[in-house]
């Protein structure tokens, strides 16, 4: 590439306007363009800005390196473009096509200007290909990163969402667990429960495992840990929502839950919690008729 004989920068700069017009036309025609998602004016504007940046940078050298600070403005532009299109629902190949579709107009100009000298033409084409390929791949990379960050955020939200602690009665908390308990989730569950115990000054917590599909030794251990931690803080735990199959599994696995009060249903557990707090439920005279 040190052959500055490469004619690419000069030719692109010289034919900037024609390249832009043809490029936008190609993009509008190609399948990557989805009418309605993107305004034509916006596409034209983006194309123009990108080509302008490209021309400016070509003067400094034609090798695109993602770590090279020289290309930072192009990099920034492509990152923004890739992210916004990822959010709009474009596929990675459609995003990359934005860059790749620039090849054809540039090649046409190169061929037109250098037809007399095939060797120089081949070099210039090669330069253009490597440059545009690396730029296109960069958009894909950013696209993927944007998607991954969305997934990571959703996973976090899922963990947060799935551990609500509700107050059944002043001094009685309930923790309805839904979904499989792994170590990470148990940690979050444990912390949320203990913090709510302190915040509400509750002395009894009902852990309802109706929504937990399976209980193995690990899940049981996690539950027991939560119970002991709550006990250390001075709160009692009741485990409720134990389905028949789960009861069988627990016994077959030899898990000892005798240290914890267990109930089959949440309502039984709530009744026990009320009793422990010295409260009771009575049918009022009105309802009795």
């Amino acid at each position: 590439m040190n052959r500055l004989a490469s004619r690419l920068p000069a030719i692109v700069e010289q034919h900037q306007q024609e390249i832009l017009t043809e490029w936008v036309r190609l993009q509008l025609e190609s399948g990557a363009w989805r009418a309605g998602r993107l305004q034509e004016t916006q596409l034209r504007d983006e194309s123009q800005r990108f080509l302008h940046l490209l021309v400016n940078n070509l003067k400094n050298g034609i090798q695109f390196d993602t770590r090279n600070s020289q290309w930072s403005d192009v990099r920034e532009f492509l990152s923004d473009l890739s992210r916004s299109r990822a959010i709009q629902g474009f596929s990675p190949s459609q995003v990359a096509t934005f860059v790749f579709s620039l090849k054809q107009p540039i090649f046409t100009r190169l061929r037109g200007s250098l037809v007399s000298d095939p060797e120089v033409l081949a070099d210039a084409m090669w330069d253009a290909t490597t440059l545009l390929d690396s730029l296109g791949l960069y958009t894909t990379e950013v696209y993927q990163q944007a998607r991954e960050s969305v997934i990571a955020r959703q996973q976090e939200e899922l963990i947060e969402l799935s551990t609500p602690v509700v107050e059944l009665w002043p001094g009685i908390l309930a923790l309805p667990l839904i979904g499989t308990l792994d170590s990470e989730r148990t940690q979050v569950v444990m912390e949320t429960l203990l913090q709510r115990l302190v915040a509400t000054g509750s002395s009894i917590a009902v852990i309802d495992i109706t929504g937990v599909p399976t209980v193995d030794t690990l899940v049981a251990q996690h539950l027991l840990k939560t119970v002991s931690a709550a006990q250390l803080m001075g709160a009692d735990c009741i485990i409720s929502g134990i389905r028949p199959q789960i009861a069988q599994t627990i016994v077959h696995l030899g898990i000892d839950l005798s240290a914890v009060a267990t109930k089959a249903s949440l309502s039984d557990a709530f009744a026990l919690a009320l009793k422990r707090r010295g409260l009771g439920v009575v049918t009022s005279a009105v309802a009795r008729g």
């Binding site: 444990m190 912390e191 203990l194 913090q195 115990l197 302190v198 000054g201 509750s202 002395s203 840990k225 002991s228 931690a229 709550a230 006990q231 250390l232 803080m233 001075g234 709160a235």
Partner: protein
């Protein structure tokens, strides 16, 4: 050297741990507390550790020791105000502090202590 203050509350003693316990301080507390129980004929001990952010196995064992010592001197111990992070650490360390009663806060602890002393029924009531 710093000392952990021990306050008298009727026939109970209130120990408020305000600073992070280092080993020396813990040993001094054991000394002071046993002396104080004997001197005041206290029947109950409340240890408030709500300001404690960190607990290691040594402090965990020390709490157990204090409870055992108090028991020998015929006083019941209730540990109150344990922070969630501390509780999790203790469970992870495998220290579930058997033989120690716990309560969420000083109020609840005092009520628990009252109930324990009432139901033990050993007190000689002098009218």
């Amino acid at each position: 050297m710093d000392r952990v203050p021990i306050l008298r509350l009727g026939d109970c003693l209130l120990v408020t741990v305000q600073v992070d316990m280092h080993d020396e301080l813990a040993m001094a507390l054991q000394d002071d507390l046993t002396n104080k129980i004997v001197a005041t004929k206290a029947r109950g001990v409340l240890i408030d550790i709500s300001a404690l952010e960190m607990v290691d196995s040594f402090i965990g064992r020390m709490l157990g020791n204090i409870a055992a010592m108090s028991r020998i001197l015929d006083a019941r111990t209730v540990v109150v105000g344990m922070q969630p992070a501390v509780a999790i650490t203790l469970v992870e360390l495998g220290l579930s502090l058997p033989g120690i009663r716990t309560a969420l806060n000083v109020d609840a602890g005092l009520a628990l202590l009252r109930r324990m002393l009432d139901t033990s029924g050993e007190g000689v009531h002098v009218d």
